[in-house]
């Protein structure tokens, strides 16, 4: 039974350029935090794990055949694909063997009846693989001695991951047509690197020695715990087996590379799971592009980062974000996911140097796109907010920047009913929508589940999680399938699909954006579009959903000449 947190967390972390969050009573030690890297026990995965032999939609023979140019499968005029080199025929029982051979030879000069297989009441007629099996079958069907003849049409199960919690929990992946997308591309992004610009990722084991001094949080005084040994584990569903090489070029921007980008929050790890959690391995849940390489780029600090002294504040600032984007682009990331943001003025498009705008991030995003990286930005969770300076439903600055760059997209969130999530910001800068989940009306089934830290053991500072009387040192070695909501969860859906699309053959970021938007499914607007006052979106876009719900299958399938 998976655990999940019913609390709604602000999945997009506030980024204030000039705001530094301080904790009253904290007296930072010169060296409160000692990291002993690569020494740590593996994670404890809650919920159990069952390892199964995975089934693969494409057999190794088919892959090898395609690589060698041998056509093993052909699309027939019927529209169905069939295996070449054979036709299935059922003769009437009274037809003698010699007559059958004669009939076959008349239909195909290369036709030979193969030895009948056990339990079959039909014959396989071997023909030259270059022959049109449907045409041969049509010829045989004209003979009165033949009950039926057909091409050997291919059948395969739509790829459904065997991850045990997939069917129960992952409405989000089915909403974006992932099963059919995996049929098209079972490699699931194996040659693409996705940068997760976030709070870090649980990507390696470690043990930390930390002097936990007293602090005040939410008006509560928490006592000093002294030197504590804090375990930290890599998320097994992200890093795979040891030496898998899945995680590449990890970088902590906050320390300019001095520290490793450990995630002490869980947000970045959860986001990474949607992008590329290991799939079809009989464990937990699935990820979208489950073979991509992941690049953790830490630009946001968390509460524990502040306590440990590994970040100056909870959150981050534009310079860290811009540096992280540039680092990702310079180190081979082809997809950059930014599940972060901040609110600001709505008119940065016309005056990017205005107070509250982020020209440093805009410049970095343009730089990254220029280097061939596609950027995905969360659309913002502030629809119900009333910012004292920027008003109701304030503009998400970084998402608005993305909307002006060909090769970057801003993502709104939908719930399981394909309605706009109640928190999802709206505006003409929203370009596409993806599942972000909701805590209203669906119970457990409204959340987006991936593997990350069990908050009961990490958020010991949060009185809503752990009573202050039970305050204890955190531990980062207990992971579970955790449900959260937010446009932070929506964005990595698009990032994962974009990674698969790039592997499929669309390598230009602007083309990826166009392909995703053109293949998106328009969504109905119950009660009308929720544009900010005085604004409207140009059809076919809407302020709530942009071009619509991202559809992985439509995007990967591309276009024919006429349809």
């Amino acid at each position: 039974m998976p655990r999940f947190r019913a609390r709604t967390i602000a999945a997009t972390l506030g980024v204030a350029a000039a705001l530094v969050l301080t904790l009253r009573g904290q007296a930072p030690d010169a060296r409160p935090f000692l990291q002993i890297a690569d020494i740590g026990l593996p994670a404890v995965e809650e919920g159990g794990a069952v390892w199964n032999e995975s089934h693969v939609p494409w057999t190794s023979q088919a892959r090898a055949g395609r690589a060698a140019g041998v056509e093993l499968v052909r699309a027939g005029v019927s529209g169905r694909s069939y295996a070449t080199g054979k036709v299935i025929v059922r003769f009437r029982d009274e037809v003698a063997a010699e007559e059958r051979r004669s009939i076959v030879r008349q239909a195909s000069s290369t036709g030979e009846i193969a030895t009948r297989r056990p339990y079959a009441d039909f014959d396989i007629v071997r023909i030259n693989p270059g022959e049109d099996a449907e045409a041969v079958a049509a010829g045989l069907n004209l003979r009165p001695q033949v009950l039926y003849a057909q091409a050997a049409y291919r059948v395969h199960a739509t790829f459904v991951p065997n991850d045990p919690q997939y069917a129960d929990l992952q409405w989000n992946l089915r909403l974006v047509n992932m099963e059919k997308a995996w049929d098209i591309q079972p490699q699931a992004g194996s040659s693409i690197t996705v940068a997760v610009i976030d709070t870090g990722v649980a990507y390696r084991n470690a043990t930390f020695s930390v002097n936990l001094r007293s602090f005040t949080h939410a008006g509560i005084r928490y006592p000093a715990l002294g030197v504590q040994t804090i375990p930290y584990a890599a998320a097994p569903q992200l890093v795979g087996g040891s030496g898998s090489g899945r995680v590449v070029a990890p970088y902590d921007v906050i320390s300019s590379g001095g520290n490793s980008p450990f995630d002490f929050d869980g947000h970045g790890t959860h986001v990474s799971g949607t992008i590329g959690q290991l799939t079809n391995d009989g464990i937990a849940v699935a990820g979208i592009a489950f073979n991509v390489k992941l690049m953790p780029v830490k630009v946001l600090g968390s509460f524990w980062d502040v306590i440990f002294g590994t970040a100056p504040s909870d959150g981050g600032s534009d310079d860290d974000v811009a540096t992280g984007i540039r680092y990702a682009a310079d180190n081979g990331a082809k997809i950059i996911n930014m599940s972060l943001g901040s609110t600001g003025p709505p008119d940065c498009a016309t005056n990017s140097n205005k107070f509250g705008c982020s020209p440093v991030v805009e410049s970095a995003m343009k730089y990254a796109v220029g280097k061939g990286a596609f950027i995905v930005v969360a659309g913002g969770n502030e629809f119900e907010d009333n910012d004292p300076q920027f008003g109701a439903n304030p503009t998400s600055v970084l998402a608005e920047i993305a909307s002006r760059i060909n090769g970057a997209v801003s993502v709104a969130a939908v719930d399981p009913s394909k309605n706009r999530a109640y928190y999802s910001s709206t505006g003409k800068y929203i370009e596409i929508a993806a599942p972000g989940g909701t805590s209203r009306g669906f119970g457990r089934n409204g959340f987006v589940f991936q593997q990350t830290f069990d908050f009961n053991f990490t958020d010991t500072f949060d009185p809503t999680v752990v009573p202050p009387s039970q305050y204890r040192a955190p531990r980062f070695d207990l992971l579970g399938t955790i449900g959260v909501t937010g446009t932070s969860m929506a964005a990595p859906h698009v990032a994962g699909i974009a990674a698969m699309l790039m592997q499929q053959g669309i390598t230009d970021p602007a083309a990826i954006e166009e392909a995703l938007e053109k293949s998106a499914v328009p969504l109905s607007l119950t009660g009308g579009d929720s544009c900010p006052p005085g604004t409207s979106a140009v059809a076919p876009r809407t302020c709530s959903f942009g071009f619509g719900l991202v559809d992985a299958r439509n995007a990967l399938r591309g276009l024919g000449l006429a349809r």
Partner: protein
């Protein structure tokens, strides 16, 4: 002058051409499609071969009616077009065009062996498109009327055998341009210009 006269002189057989002649033929055509970007995106080129045949009915050795059937089929990949770039997605696609054309024309008497001609008419053009990973409703099987005009010359190899070469223009609206790559490319004509060779049996 003598040689020119001999070349232009009608062979004895031509001087007694029948009032009505039915002449079957086979043909091969190399066509350059009008939807250049569309075909280039999916197939990697915008020209290809049609093979077919038909029958010609010649009246008074001048006027003629011709019915032609041919077929083009080619395999390519589903694609996406953006900013003038083509991105092929590795998903197999098969396109088939089957025209049935009827034209009426006139054969000029330049010489008994060399007969230039012009013709125009209409055709019905069937287009089928199938792809892997497609639902049946996503495949295409349509037929639309188009227009055709051609002009060329027939060289008589023998009393009963002729070889003609011509250029044919076809215009086939209504199939491309509504969706797919053709819509992205802004191309809606399935026709094009073809260079044709016909081997004609008959007088």
């Amino acid at each position: 002058m003598l040689l020119v006269g001999l070349a232009l002189a009608a062979p004895a057989a031509a001087q007694d051409a029948p009032a009505l002649s039915i002449r079957p033929f086979v043909l091969g055509a190399g066509q350059s499609f009008a939807a250049v970007d569309t075909f280039d995106a999916v197939f990697g080129r915008s020209y290809d071969v049609f093979l077919g045949g038909g029958v010609q009915v010649v009246v008074q050795d001048c006027f003629y009616f011709e019915g032609t059937a041919s077929r083009f089929t080619q395999k390519g990949q589903r694609a996406f077009r953006s900013g003038g770039q083509n991105f092929r997605l590795g998903i197999p696609l098969t396109a088939t065009i089957i025209p049935f054309e009827v034209t009426a024309g006139y054969r000029f008497h330049l010489s008994p062996r060399l007969r230039p001609y012009i013709a125009a008419g209409v055709g019905t053009y069937g287009y089928k498109e199938t792809s892997e990973f497609s639902d049946p409703a996503e495949n295409v099987d349509v037929r639309h009327v188009g227009f055709v005009a051609n002009g060329g010359a027939e060289f008589r190899l023998h009393r009963w055998l002729g070889l003609s070469a011509d250029v044919q223009y076809t215009h086939v609206p209504g199939i491309l341009g509504v969706s797919g790559v053709s819509q992205q490319a802004g191309e809606n004509d399935l026709g094009g210009v073809a260079a044709r060779l016909k081997l004609i049996v008959g007088r």
